[in-house]
């Protein structure tokens, strides 16, 4: 079949400057997105296409007694209705690590909104009505919603007959994975502590709230295969999960990335991919599925809510003696990324500090709550919220300034992690804190700046006009965090890049083809910059991402610039060698430097390291094209020991610090964050403008979980109570403060160009900084996030 409308096309980016790394070249998709012209996956259209709809469970935990699809099938315009019984092969589950998620429910549903049946019809409204006509009879089961109900002796097992690789080491089958980390002797070290502080913390369930809901278009191919146009974070991971369910070899499932409207981890798991392909193959017609916002809240995993129990000790001089902690993550009904989130939460649980004696445990539960998995910060966010609250408490107990206390205990290059792994690149934790503290503070009482009348926009409540200054108290808080970069724990975390050089219209052009999912992070800009720097060209064409090239790995874990950027750099270097070989063959006899000098590609020419021009690239490449596809890997990691948590588990770390300034209406419990200053070490800013954008975006997402964002699940029914943007609030521009950013560039010698993954670190420290500022303003303990007005007014 033909290509649908709205399919991404090649983007050729020129540059008036050199346009290489370190420049703030503009995004090729920026203007299109801002003006509404960018084609997102939900905009795709194909002649003769059908619309798919998913019927989801209305209860959280139940046996399915019966499903009657007859009325739905009888509706005119309906082409197919499929349930579990219609799945074509023996492979009926999928999952990132553990294949525990049914494509369609079989015998049982385990969470509110689980897919039960799918429909294809010639109109989206027809499909929706048909789905509503499917009769499902449920026999409800008690719901498992927390650690107590999950691990009770008589607890119903969310998954019977587990045979995954974690079942052997978990204390209960309703625990997905458990990772202890034991180093030194925390019990003995506690005896040295002059001050000990304990705390219990609760972290709410955050949604990625990407603005482009899940969507895609599956087009049947003539060879019996299918072509899926999809908004995802990792094409090849999707492919590996989709093909077996369809009973097709991977080569018959072609995938092309379509316009992605944000991801933040929420597209790491499959959503409608298999459903669209099943319906397309069943009907022989293209099938498009687009979730609306309501369905999107059920259609992807969320950030794990968590309970965190901490004990910190310090000497009179303010040196940390020990940390004991226990982190309980609610993974919901299916495993998703829970095991890896456990690994991160445990290994990063004490933060960027030096502590030799630790006793750490992290677990993820199976419950009947919505499934949780990847989200920006991935386990490190929850821990940072708790350990930073603890650091404030302990500083107060010792009687030290909170920033100085952190600086005194800050890790640096050479510090040994709780996992035994040395930190072998710069770790400027104390310096980042110094930098945010040194920034000028916003003026007091800014709402009076305009004149006699209070400018309510500068006050908590804004135009809702709740205060003209009454009850308003300023607070300031600090926090710093540590995030790993890349996939950890021995994962083969590689990427692939295909780079070609040729002459087009008399000018040398490089084409970069990877399967990297551009989800808004700016990879398409960075790849062009790398190609310009390495190949000395101006024009770079970015090929649409698809599965016709090897895997790029996931756009997550702050890894794409490092890993796929690294792969592009590597392939460019290999292309350069071939171009030089070609040059030597064609022109080597004209100049001895071809044989003797170090040669570079610059400004469209082959030059010596002394700057002498040997040939135009256009002449070297005339009538030829040079192409290389190669995989590239960062240095390997290893698994954490299952008993002690020791191991070289992480590739790289990323650090950011925040200072939050808030105004709190202490009587009404309303908060306005006035400023969130951030300092972050990025190793090398390949595109400074994008770096700042990432830091500001991550900071804002952290603000969201501090003061408003939470999926509220009814503890009695495990049903989601606020699946809409009416009641799941995300920050608007009026909630977003000034975010001054101080970027530090200390090279990591292990990484391409010395860069550091940057996307997640600002999301970590933003939340605890805001919480610390609110505590500072109110004097309240505030052990949960998000903070709601009732928590600040004693009316919860």
């Amino acid at each position: 079949m033909s290509t649908p409308n709205g399919t991404p096309t090649k983007i050729t980016q020129g540059s008036k400057t050199k346009g290489g790394i370190g420049e703030s070249t503009l995004r090729p998709d920026g203007t299109l997105k801002v003006t509404g012209e960018f084609a997102y996956s939900s905009d795709m259209w194909h002649e003769d296409m059908l619309w798919g709809q998913i019927l989801r469970s209305t209860v959280a935990h139940a046996e399915i007694v019966s499903i009657d699809t007859s009325e739905a099938l009888a509706l005119p315009g309906v082409y197919a209705v499929m349930t579990y019984d219609d799945l074509p092969t023996e492979v009926k589950n999928y999952g990132l690590e553990i294949q525990d998620t049914p494509v369609l429910a079989h015998g049982k549903v385990r969470h509110h909104g689980e897919p039960v049946a799918i429909v294809a019809a010639d109109h989206p409204e027809t499909a929706r009505r048909a789905a509503a006509k499917i009769k499902v009879e449920y026999r409800e089961l008690p719901v498992i919603t927390d650690e107590a109900s999950a691990t009770a002796p008589d607890a119903i097992l969310v998954h019977e007959n587990r045979d995954d690789h974690h079942i052997g080491h978990v204390p209960h089958p309703n625990i997905v994975h458990r990772q202890p980390i034991l180093r030194g002797d925390a019990r003995q070290a506690a005896e040295r502590a002059d001050f000990v502080v304990k705390g219990e913390y609760t972290f709410g369930m955050q949604d990625q709230a990407f603005l482009g809901p899940e969507s895609g278009l599956a087009v049947p191919d003539e060879d019996g295969g299918v072509h899926l146009y999809i908004a995802t974070q990792w094409l090849h991971s999707d492919l590996r999960q989709i093909a077996p369910v369809l009973g097709l070899p991977e080569r018959k499932v072609r995938m092309t990335l379509s316009g992605v409207g944000g991801a933040f981890g929420g597209r790491e798991d499959l959503s409608m991919q298999i459903h669209a392909c099943l319906l397309a193959l069943r009907t022989g017609k293209p099938v498009k599925i687009v979730y609306n916002r309501f369905e999107s809240f059920f259609g992807h995993v969320h950030r794990h809510p968590a309970k965190l129990y901490y004990e910190h000790g310090a000497t009179r001089e303010g040196k940390l003696t020990h940390v004991k902690c226990r982190i309980v993550l609610d993974g919901g009904a299916y495993a998703s990324a829970s095991p890896a989130v456990v690994g991160n939460a445990s290994s990063l649980s004490i933060g960027p500090y030096v502590v030799d004696d630790v006793d750490i445990e992290a677990i993820a539960l199976y419950t009947n709550n919505p499934p949780c998995g990847a989200m920006r910060g991935f386990g490190a966010v929850q821990a940072c919220f708790a350990y930073e609250a603890q650091m404030d408490k302990l500083a107060d107990a010792v009687g030290m300034d909170r920033v100085e206390f952190r600086q005194l205990n800050a890790m640096e290059q050479g510090t040994i992690m709780p996992t035994g792994q040395p930190v072998d690149s710069p770790a400027p934790v104390a310096e980042l804190l110094r930098r945010v503290k040194a920034m000028p503070l916003p003026p007091e009482q800014q709402w009076l700046a305009a004149g006699e009348q209070a400018d309510v926009r500068q006050l908590p409540g804004g135009l809702s006009n709740t205060t003209h200054g009454e009850g308003v108290v300023r607070g300031i808080g600090y926090a710093v965090g540590i995030k790993n970069v890349g996939f950890s724990e021995g994962f083969d975390d590689y990427s692939t890049a295909k780079v070609r050089m040729e002459v087009v219209g008399g000018e040398p052009v490089a084409t970069v083809h990877t399967a990297m999912a551009e989800v808004g992070q700016g990879g398409v800009t960075v790849h062009a910059q790398i190609a310009r720097t390495e190949l000395g060209v101006t024009q770079v064409t970015i090929h649409p991402a698809d599965t016709q090239v090897g895997s790029a790995g996931s756009t997550s874990a702050s890894r794409q610039t490092y890993v796929t950027g690294g792969a592009v750099k590597n392939s460019c270097e290999l292309v350069r060698e071939k171009v030089l070989e070609l040059g030597r063959r064609k022109f080597g006899s004209y100049h001895p430097a071809w044989a003797t000098a170090e040669l570079l590609l610059e400004g469209g020419k082959v030059v010596t390291d002394g700057g002498e021009v040997l040939a135009d690239l256009a002449d070297v490449l005339e009538g030829e094209s040079v192409e290389v596809e190669a995989e590239w890997r960062h240095r390997p990691t290893e698994a954490f020991d299952l008993r002690t948590g020791q191991g070289f588990g992480h590739v790289q770390y990323s650090f950011a610090a925040h200072r939050a300034v808030v105004e709190v209406d202490t009587e009404l419990g309303l908060v306005k964050v006035i400023e969130l200053a951030c300092a972050q070490d990025v190793g090398k800013a390949l595109n400074p403008l994008s770096v700042i954008g990432q830091i500001q975006g991550g900071t804002t997402q952290g603000l969201g979980i501090a003061v408003m964002e939470e999926i509220i699940v009814d503890p009695k029914t495990a049903k989601v109570r606020n699946p809409s943007f009416t009641d799941y609030l995300i920050p608007t521009i009026l909630d977003t403060p000034t975010i001054p950013v101080d970027v530090l560039e200390l090279a990591d010698d292990h990484a391409p160009y010395g860069l550091r993954g940057i996307g997640e670190a600002p999301t970590l420290s933003s939340t605890p900084a805001v919480l610390a500022a609110i505590r500072n303003a109110t004097g309240l303990e505030l052990n949960r996030t998000p903070v709601r007005p009732e928590h600040l007014t004693g009316t919860a």
Binding site: F294, E452, A454, G462, T466, L734, P789, T795, A796
Partner: protein
């Protein structure tokens, strides 16, 4: 679903008489959300957008006759002087796009306890002009809200306009939401001083099954102001009077716990807003005010 598009008010009334289940639609900021989410599938939609009269207003001697479809943006821009409480309330409605479409008629038709206009209408004093083929009548705002999302309209009636008393004294409006813009009220409070009648009126949103006035609080305050000669001597309202007024406002709430907030918080917040808005309005009345209206 049939889409009825009357060209005139008379045609609209005839259509509503013929199809009493028809749902009137103007800005569509409530109705379309309900339809898009399939919460509601009316047999007939009665589109009022061709009736120009509904987007007009007249400023009379004592009242403003505000067409049912006058968008909030127009109220903010053009009626700030006459209807300061409603103008402040209009600022808190959703986003600029929604304020360009939505109007008070829709708020009244939906009659949600969370509608932003209600507390301002209750405090200012208003009458809702409704009409059917049988004739026209004015429903006092105090008698308009009859239950959760229910109002005093008969099945064949449409809202044509709202007659709102022109401000004869300072008015205030406060709304609590859990973000600084684009948020549904957790609770809201409107207050208007009426020096001509020497009365204070209030309106409370999202803290009872319907928008309500805090009548006991009003009576207490009216008596206290009268007794102390405050309307004439322009003295500061004593903290104890303000506190008792606030407590009585909080006591007149009958809120629920929901995802937006707890009942206990709503009662608390209404009390705080009552005290603050009274202080602002009274300071303004005394003419010594430094800060009265929110500078928007």
């Amino acid at each position: 679903m049939d889409f009825l598009r009357p060209a005139s008010w008379e045609e609209a009334l005839a259509a509503k008489a013929e199809h009493p289940t028809a749902v009137p639609i103007a800005g569509g900021t409530d109705v379309m959300v309900e339809i898009n989410f399939d919460h509601r599938r009316p047999e007939y939609l009665l589109d009022l957008n061709r009736i120009a009269d509904l987007t007009e207003w007249e400023v009379g001697e004592d009242t403003v006759r505000l067409g049912a479809s006058v968008p909030y943006t127009r109220i903010m821009e053009s009626l700030r002087g006459e209807l300061p409480g409603l103008a402040l309330a209009s600022h808190t409605v959703a986003s600029p796009q929604i304020r360009n479409r939505g109007g008070v008629g829709g708020n009244l038709g939906t009659a949600s306890p969370a509608g932003d206009a209600h507390p301002a209408l209750l405090a200012a004093g208003a009458e809702v002009e409704v009409e059917s083929v049988r004739g026209s009548r004015l429903i006092p705002i105090d008698a308009f809200y009859t239950g959760v999302k229910r109002n005093a309209l008969a099945a064949d009636e449409l809202i044509r306009a709202v007659h709102i008393k022109k401000a004869d004294g300072p008015q205030q409006y406060s709304k609590v939401g859990t973000r600084n813009a684009m948020v549904i009220a957790v609770c809201a409070f409107g207050l208007a001083l009426h020096p001509e009648t020497r009365t204070v009126r209030t309106g409370i949103g999202s803290a009872a099954p319907t928008p309500v006035r805090a009548k006991a609080a009003e009576e207490f305050l009216n008596a206290a102001l009268d007794e102390g000669g405050f309307w004439d001597n322009g003295k500061i309202i004593t903290p104890s009077v303000a506190k008792q007024f606030a407590d009585l406002c909080a006591a007149s709430c009958n809120p629920i716990d929901d995802v937006r907030g707890t009942a206990s918080y709503r009662r608390h917040a209404v009390g705080i807003m009552a005290r603050r808005t009274l202080t602002w309005a009274w300071e303004s009345y005394r003419g010594t005010a430094a800060a009265t209206e929110g500078a928007a």
